[in-house]
Structures are given as structure tokens and as C-alpha cells.
């Protein structure tokens, strides 16, 4: 290989590496979780997680990150509240969400809104999902 060819190859290799690094940086870390969030959560909690006044709570709440059990149970069971003497649903339940979907969603919430950097494992979330379902029986 001549030095000219070597320089050209080196340049192309370096450019390609830089492209890979930058495209990796911009890539959403949990795309499956983001899709679930967009489909099931963002209509109310908004794409940026800010919610709506006191009507729909913001998800930028580090207390949520500290209590995965509470988050998982809330998503599975929804929230009912008393309103003018009637019990109404203020957050819909997603009882059919699988442990894999829940793990992806929790990891998206963690990375996007809680910034803790913690990554949940399917085994842990499966346990939490089962605990919630058993406690409801």
C-alpha cells in the first residue's frame, strides 16, 4: 500500500468512526420504552413528562425513582380517586403490560426523567409485577 492510499484509508476509517460515535450519542437509549411511553403515557403526562398543572402530575419527580414498586403497581392498577362523592378513574390501568414492556418503560422513565442512570433488570421488574398482581388478588 502506498502512503497515499494509506492516508486515504486512514481518513475514511477515522471519519466513519467519528460518524458512528456521534450517531451513537444521539440515539435514544431505550427506544422500546419510548414507544410504550408515547403510546400509553404521553397523551396525559406529555412527551416532556411535565404533566398539566395539578391535574396531571409531572414525572420529573425523583421520589418516583426511589420507589419502583409504587411505580409498577400504579401503572398496572391505575389510580382511582373520590370526586364529588363518586369514585372515578384518574389514571387508567394497564393490567396486561408484560414484565418486559414494564422493564423497557421503567428504564425509559429512569433515563429520560429521573436521570439516575440506573438500569432495571427484567428479573427485578418481573418480581415487582408479580408482587403487585398477587397483592391485588
Amino acid at each position: 500500500m502506498t502512503s497515499k492510499h494509506f492516508l486515504k484509508s486512514s481518513f475514511l476509517f477515522t471519519s466513519f468512526s467519528i460518524f458512528l460515535i456521534f450517531s451513537g450519542c444521539n440515539h435514544q437509549k431505550f427506544p422500546q420504552g419510548q414507544r410504550i411511553y408515547s403510546a400509553r403515557c404521553s397523551n396525559c403526562h406529555m412527551p416532556d413528562g411535565n404533566g398539566l398543572g395539578k391535574l396531571i402530575p409531572s414525572l420529573h419527580n425523583d421520589n418516583l425513582a426511589l420507589n419502583s414498586q409504587h411505580v409498577v403497581c400504579t401503572i398496572l392498577n391505575g389510580i382511582n380517586a373520590d370526586s364529588l362523592g363518586q369514585t372515578i378513574s384518574v389514571m387508567p390501568a394497564f393490567p396486561d403490560m408484560t414484565a418486559v414492556e414494564m422493564t423497557n418503560l421503567i428504564n425509559y422513565l429512569t433515563s429520560e426523567f429521573w436521570k439516575s442512570g440506573e438500569v432495571s433488570k427484567i428479573s427485578n421488574i418481573t418480581q415487582l409485577v408479580n408482587d403487585c398482581r398477587n397483592s391485588k388478588k
Partner: protein, 200 residues
């Protein structure tokens, strides 16, 4: 001579820009009657607001208002639309001529008390933003005047399907502009249009 021609050309361009109409159009069909153009106009209406006070379109003749159609238990587009309404509310919080109206299309569930509770959680001034409830069929028909599609559908979440447009109406009941409440990028233009309408 050459410079004079250039200056004249620049003047013509600037003059034509300056005279560009800044008035908002009146939207909807129009027809001629007795030689006069008759524009689309929203029919008369009367509803109760979240304070159980009767609000009519006549009371808004000295105001301009933006309107949307929603229901408090709506699980789909309503929160997004209401967030854009809230952004507009905050922009014109200190402008008494601008009012906001949210017509409930689900009056069976959205009683006065329910709307009052909803408004309290939105932390809004009840004398500026009216949450209105009344006859369901009349409300669904009225939505058409605002170019909103709204109808009952058991198949959709919440039981009602409706579009999420936010409509700008002048004191004469004419629709002057709108935004897509589900698309936040269209809100700044509506805010500009409100400012333009305030100058009329």
C-alpha cells in the same frame, strides 16, 4: 439616474411590504344578501360555567376568545389541547379582552361541580377561562360552527371522538384563526393572530 431608479425600486418593495394586509381573514363560507357579503357566524348559545353562572355569546361581544371542545375524563387528546390552551391563557393572563372557553361535550359526567374541580386543578381564573356545560346534542351541533368534529362513539376511549383544534373568535362571532391543539408548534402563530386581532 441609475441610483434614482434603484432607490425607486427599493421604495416600491418597502411600500408594498408596509401595505400588506395585517388583518385576519374571516373564515368559513360566505354569501351575498341584498348586495352585502354575509360571513359565517357562530350561532347564539347559552351555557353554565364552572361557577354555575350563565354565559352567553352576547356577553363576549366586547371580547375576543379562543375555544376548544373537550371532556374532563378524556383519555386521548384533551390533556395536550388543554396544555396549549393553558399556554395561551398564561400569555394573555393580564389582557382582559381575551377570554378562553372550553365546551364540554360530555355534560352528563361534566357537571358544574366537576368542571369547578377541574378548573381548580388547572389553577385558572374562573372569570377569564370558562368551562361550559349544557345540552349535549346542542353542544355537538355547535361544534360544527367552530369547524370542530365531535360525536359520540362507543368504540373510542372515553366515548367521544373529536378534533383538537383551538379556534379564535372575534366579538362578532366570526372565526378568525385556529391552531392544532395537539401540535404545540402551531400555538405561537395563534398567539400572534390573537395579538393581531386585538389591534383591530
Amino acid at each position: 439616474m441609475k441610483y434614482n431608479a434603484l432607490l425607486f425600486f427599493v421604495f416600491v418593495i418597502l411600500y408594498s411590504c408596509k401595505n400588506e394586509s395585517t388583518e385576519l381573514p374571516i373564515l368559513g363560507n360566505q354569501y351575498e344578501e341584498n348586495g352585502k357579503v354575509v360571513h359565517h357566524k357562530i350561532r347564539d348559545w347559552s351555557f353554565l360555567n364552572q361557577d354555575s353562572i350563565t354565559i352567553t355569546n352576547d356577553q363576549l361581544s366586547d371580547n375576543i376568545y379562543i375555544a376548544d371542545f373537550f371532556f374532563t375524563s378524556c383519555p386521548s387528546i384533551c390533556p395536550k389541547v388543554q396544555r396549549e390552551m393553558l399556554a395561551i391563557y398564561k400569555e394573555f393572563e393580564d389582557e382582559p379582552r381575551v377570554k378562553l372557553i372550553s365546551f364540554s361535550i360530555d355534560p352528563k359526567r361534566d357537571t358544574v361541580g366537576k368542571l369547578k374541580e377541574y378548573a381548580a386543578k388547572m389553577e385558572i381564573d374562573n372569570s377569564k377561562w370558562y368551562m361550559l356545560t349544557g345540552d349535549k346534542d346542542f353542544t355537538l351541533d355547535l361544534a360544527e360552527d367552530y369547524f370542530i368534529v365531535a360525536y359520540e362513539d362507543e368504540e373510542v376511549p372515553g366515548g367521544f371522538d373529536h378534533s383538537g383544534k383551538i379556534i379564535l373568535v372575534d366579538g362578532n362571532g366570526h372565526v378568525r384563526s385556529f391552531s392544532e391543539g395537539t401540535d404545540e408548534t402551531t400555538t405561537p402563530k395563534l398567539i400572534n393572530d390573537i395579538k393581531t386581532l386585538l389591534k383591530e
